[in-house]
Symmetry: none
Subunit: 440 residues, 2 copies
Amino acid sequence: MNGTGSEEDPWSILRSLPRGREVEIETAGGARWRGTLVPPHELSGERTVQLKLANGYNVGIRISPQDRLTVFPPSPLLPNAKAVNPQRLPGESGEPGHVSLLTTGGTIASRVDYRTGGVRPVKEESEILAFYPSLEEGGPVRIRTVLDRLSEEIGPGDWVALAEAVAAEFRDGARGVVVAHGTDTLAYTASALAFTLGSLPGPVVLVGAQRSPDRPSSDGSSNLQAAVELARVGALGEVAVLMHAGLSDDRFSIHRATWVRKMHSSRRDAFRSRNGEPLGYVDGSGVHLAAGARAPSTGPPTVDTRLDLSAGLFWFHPGAAPHRAQLAAEGLRGLIIAGTGLGHLASGHLPWIRQAVERGTFVGMTTQCLEGQTDPYVYATGRELLRAGVTYLSDLLPEVAYVKLLFALGRAKTLDEVRAQLLTDWAGEFPGRHGVRELS
Amino acid sequence: MNGTGSEEDPWSILRSLPRGREVEIETAGGARWRGTLVPPHELSGERTVQLKLANGYNVGIRISPQDRLTVFPPSPLLPNAKAVNPQRLPGESGEPGHVSLLTTGGTIASRVDYRTGGVRPVKEESEILAFYPSLEEGGPVRIRTVLDRLSEEIGPGDWVALAEAVAAEFRDGARGVVVAHGTDTLAYTASALAFTLGSLPGPVVLVGAQRSPDRPSSDGSSNLQAAVELARVGALGEVAVLMHAGLSDDRFSIHRATWVRKMHSSRRDAFRSRNGEPLGYVDGSGVHLAAGARAPSTGPPTVDTRLDLSAGLFWFHPGAAPHRAQLAAEGLRGLIIAGTGLGHLASGHLPWIRQAVERGTFVGMTTQCLEGQTDPYVYATGRELLRAGVTYLSDLLPEVAYVKLLFALGRAKTLDEVRAQLLTDWAGEFPGRHGVRELS
């Protein structure tokens, strides 16, 4: 128990504590509040925390620098995963298995090229260990270069190679696999791995850096260290993205692969979960997983990388010409639309969409708002699109729906089969309690 | 003051009361809570109300049928705006001028159609005043229907009609103009008005509703009331978007038109400023503007609605086929790319982009992260795109860059002129250069 009084502003401590920590706040006015930190609601301003009290009430408390804060040891809400869930791989005996680190190029394994002033990928494994000397402190790490390119160049073919490489690492006895990846398209690749890998016996952790590792402000070293720690603990059985939770180097969010999006071009905490909370955190006290995080499977991993690239993504906007959209979608087996609001577009697009569906093209609707669900029943436009055969995809992000579509097309033959695959939960990708609204 | 005790379940009264009403709850256990009803936050369950207490704390209270409820008379919602910042138009004498309310269709002027279960636009002005009886309490409001359609149908031609209608209202003596607009494409229209209208003698306030006005949860009434207050105060000389700041009906954000984006499909606080703070707030104590908000001009408004629709928006993603992107961009005078990260895409797209620029097409780069700036100098990909003639557009949102491009094409002939127009600040659209930080 740490009492902190006059030296440090209690707000700076409170805002870095994970949800679920028990604290007591004694205000300057003498009031005492003891409870569990819960996420702040909409109305909370700066310097306000929400506490769930023992009697069940939630109280919003504005923190002043004079308040006295007591932080209690972690409660079992988000347990220290290492202690609570020591995992042993099937057939494993004695020492824990190694962690595999697969590199693909990108900023986490790049350095400034002083000839051009730009950043070039680091290729040699020895060079990587030279940048990250403490990586093996907790146990052996095997490094393997699977790809060597910046992430904007990584596409569907690379996803297949990566999925197979990850499965091979588990078959070779890895407790967990870390994939170092450029951040530009890291979330796309994460979705692809989540949709192709099943029955994971340990975590697959995608990790990146927003700054190159030879810069003082680099986040690569701490991200990679935390990712290896999460992989070593092994208590997670799904594909996740680990990146800075905030601007400090001591707290990292674990995002579900299919919920995460890069929401800033340069900040270290650019990656955010949409429509749901992160699966957990890594901080100085260990790995903390939320109740909804998937446990490891006991079986060997499965891989299904069948895919069909005959798919597109159409980002609707006012002024979008129907004939151009039709041209771009011509001959495709599937198309994801990022519509406005609850899933709309201008009715001038209805004729070509209707035609496309009649010819057997799957057309799926998502929202360009990037949060909230689609709903075809509120406005006439939605009902017309539904009648035209458009499938509403609830709270799937447009990009995630596109990635899923490629694999759904690989697994399904008929339009009805593709539809059924898109609406089936493959990897926990529907954040709204996996609630896919029944469509007629 | 009504005391209700044993006869009726207090929950059935509480849940029908508007936010902002003052109540006192005496629990069966003897605890007394007096405060103002605020919207329940995410974690609140059924039968739970949130009260803001006099000391500023928010408390969530679970209501049991035995609780005793007292409801106090309503307090004025937005009392002080007029008093805080009384503006007088140049040449105006005596009474303040009227506020003009232009309607376009959309949820703020829609009602449930009980035949279809969907929502239909309200068309008659008398019907609008019947929904919003208190609109004229602070002064005269002239209502005019400019368009009659859901916002997903509103496009560039409508922007021109609206810009001309707004300018005409100012010429007719309006202190400020409110534009009621469906939320789906509200931000696009707001940008278009910001780019076409200049020297504004008062605010142009776009406002919408996420729920239709005949539903108890509607935000339309309070949004519209606050928008009319802002227009009446008149202390702002730019196009802004006013919507709920949070889930409560008593605080509204004023967003710069070119910074705002709809970031949730259904929440009342879906509209958020990107890369900058809102221009200010409207709350119970009046209108509060940040230092960077533009002051009204003394001259009459200018309108320049020249536009050229020969423009497109290409949202890059892994797997995007270069030949399809090329086909979609064929023959366009301008194209905005929403690239990854700092403004990248796969190098397979370089040949057609290079060709397009060589043929005189403007190609502008933005980031699909939606926050942060583009930067072509960090990675080789950016430098190659720069060499191919791509113009990096800093922190312009992809959609805002697209809207600006239509008008830039209308005003400029050569590629160099289009480039120069895109990089010129027309309406404070570059948040990094014109960051509004301080709130007065």
